[in-house]
């Protein structure tokens, strides 16, 4: 990691010197400079940009963490002109980074989509925005209209799949585009491109494409100037929970988790940090100095996921909060695979018993067995994420789990949830944007 801090203006969330932000095309070009994308197939240009993105080490920011350039290989191998899909579904309830990016810097994402289209020979781009995100869709449509007036060549349209947790999974998006059902598919070999009809589809998360737009402008060496050699660049993180300033922050990869948390001003002592998403993992605050990067997080059983950091106050109960998440995730199953349909509600039942102090060691043992029975048995990774979350809760809140199982539940189980769920009114203050650098 570089030793200087990021400038006040982040890379993705650049702002004018006066701190204001303008999502218009003129302000975008003033902040980031021009980007020339060839209107027709241009092998030399494609080769150069592909190499820069490959050398940048950019990985997908939608949860999979797959190298961005490798995705193009699968599509190029198929030999047909693909459809480029911008995945701005943001089905994780605790994530706000993609909607923040698309509202503030829609042109950066659309630039990246244009680059991906030119590279892969695509002639059409669709932007997927969940059907409960009208403001985001309007921001993107305004930006598309501006670009059309400026004479951009590839047609871009906004489509509105259902706002469900699994709808943003890329095979579910492909299924929705093909037949209107946002259901994940069983994929045995992920190096084979997804298809809509006979056309391969190239699905990229919105933030990933914004990063592509920056690499196409500034090159791999510039990109690698932030972050660590193993995890280069910056990334957007949504910090929420027991904090004074719920925020979307742009951080250098490798920044200690504790510094990412500090950006949102925790309200008091912290008993757990949820990382990745609702299919992510709890981090013990004792490990909060771990670098926010895929490798180090994997070593402590956690994940970068879609950049969610949710702070659990010591006054809350980690078991009760985990039970709420699992109950929500059970309801968000696509309903296709038996182990997910029946297993997730059963796991939620056990957690609720445990949270209420009505569980005993037998319930705890059954919960552990059920986690083992469900893991790896769905077409998509939805049940696997839940199992990872539950296992991390049993480890991070182990003392609490023992007390609950002994009939001595903590008082925190009565505390209001600090988590966001899509039902009802949005929780917490409006999302603010700040920029945090790495080690000073």
């Amino acid at each position: 990691m570089t030793t200087d801090t990021l400038p006040r203006t982040g890379r993705l969330l650049a702002t004018a010197p006066d701190g204001s932000s303008d999502p218009g095309l003129a302000a975008h070009l003033a902040a980031h400079g021009p980007l020339v994308v060839p209107p027709r197939d241009d092998r030399a240009w494609s080769h150069t940009v592909w190499r820069e993105v490959a050398e940048s080490g950019l990985t997908g920011r939608g949860g999979g963490g797959f190298p961005a350039a490798a995705k193009w290989d699968a599509v190029t191998r198929s030999g047909r002109r693909p459809l480029v899909v911008v995945n701005a579904m943001e089905g994780e309830p605790a994530s706000a980074k993609d909607r923040t990016l698309l509202t503030r810097s829609p042109h950066l994402v659309l630039d990246g989509a244009e680059v991906a289209a030119a590279l892969s020979g695509a002639r059409q781009v669709v932007v997927c925005v969940a059907d409960d995100q009208d403001g985001v869709a309007r921001a993107v449509e305004r930006a598309i209209a501006e670009r059309d007036r400026a004479g951009r060549s590839r047609p871009v349209s906004v489509v509105r799949p259902p706002a469900r947790y699994v709808a943003g999974e890329e095979s579910a998006l492909a299924a929705w585009l093909e037949r209107g059902e946002a259901l994940p598919a069983l994929r045995v070999d992920k190096s084979v491109a997804l298809r809509v009809g006979r056309r391969p589809v190239l699905v990229h998360n919105a933030e990933t494409l914004a990063q592509v737009a920056l690499v196409a402008r500034h090159g791999a060496a510039w990109f690698r100037g932030r972050g660590t050699p193993e995890a280069p660049g910056t990334t957007l993180v949504t910090v929420s929970g027991g904090v004074g300033r719920p925020s979307v922050v742009e951080v250098e990869l490798g920044t200690p988790v504790v510094d990412v948390v500090a950006a949102a001003e925790p309200l008091g002592p912290v008993s757990g940090i949820l990382l990745g998403g609702y299919g992510g993992a709890w981090l013990d605050p004792a490990h909060a100095s771990v670098p926010y990067a895929p490798g180090p997080l994997r070593d402590v059983g956690a994940t970068l996921g879609v950049g969610i950091v949710c702070v659990l106050p010591a006054t809350s109960c980690g078991i009760a909060e985990t039970a709420r998440i699992v109950r929500y995730m059970a309801g968000e199953s696509a309903g296709q695979c038996g182990p997910c349909v029946f297993g997730l509600p059963a796991i939620a039942d056990d957690l609720e018993l445990l949270a209420a102090g009505r569980g005993d060691p037998a319930v705890l043992a059954r919960l552990e067995d059920r986690c083992g029975a469900v893991a790896g048995r769905g077409a998509c990774r939805h049940p696997d994420g839940v199992v990872r979350l539950v296992r991390s809760a049993l480890a991070v809140f182990a003392d609490d789990v023992r007390d609950h199982a002994a009939g001595r539940p903590c008082a925190g189980r009565h505390a209001a949830s600090v988590l966001r769920f899509p039902t009802g009114a949005p929780v917490g203050a409006p999302v603010t944007v700040t920029v945090r650098g790495g080690a000073a």
Binding site: Q336, C337, G338, P339, A373, A379
Partner: protein
């Protein structure tokens, strides 16, 4: 000529197609058990040659065509 690898087959269940009829676990208990909800838990390691015929029958008997034999290439 000795061969370092051989083509073998292994069982895989399509969890979307599977509707928990459970016939497979009756026909091939050596490799398939049922979870508490009646869905098959399949041992996906390559099948011993003497089990291939039974596995083929189990796959053919599945009312949902959810059980598949797949070729795997590995050490003989």
């Amino acid at each position: 000529m000795s061969r370092a690898t051989a083509t073998r087959v292994a069982l895989r269940v399509d969890p979307v197609a599977c509707d928990a009829y459970g016939f497979c676990a009756e026909l091939l208990p050596e490799r398939i058990t049922l979870d508490e909800w009646g869905y098959p838990v399949v041992d996906g390691r390559p099948l011993d040659p003497d089990l291939v015929e039974l596995a083929t029958r189990a796959a053919a008997e599945c009312p949902r065509r959810a059980l598949h034999l797949e070729r795997v290439v590995g050490p003989a």
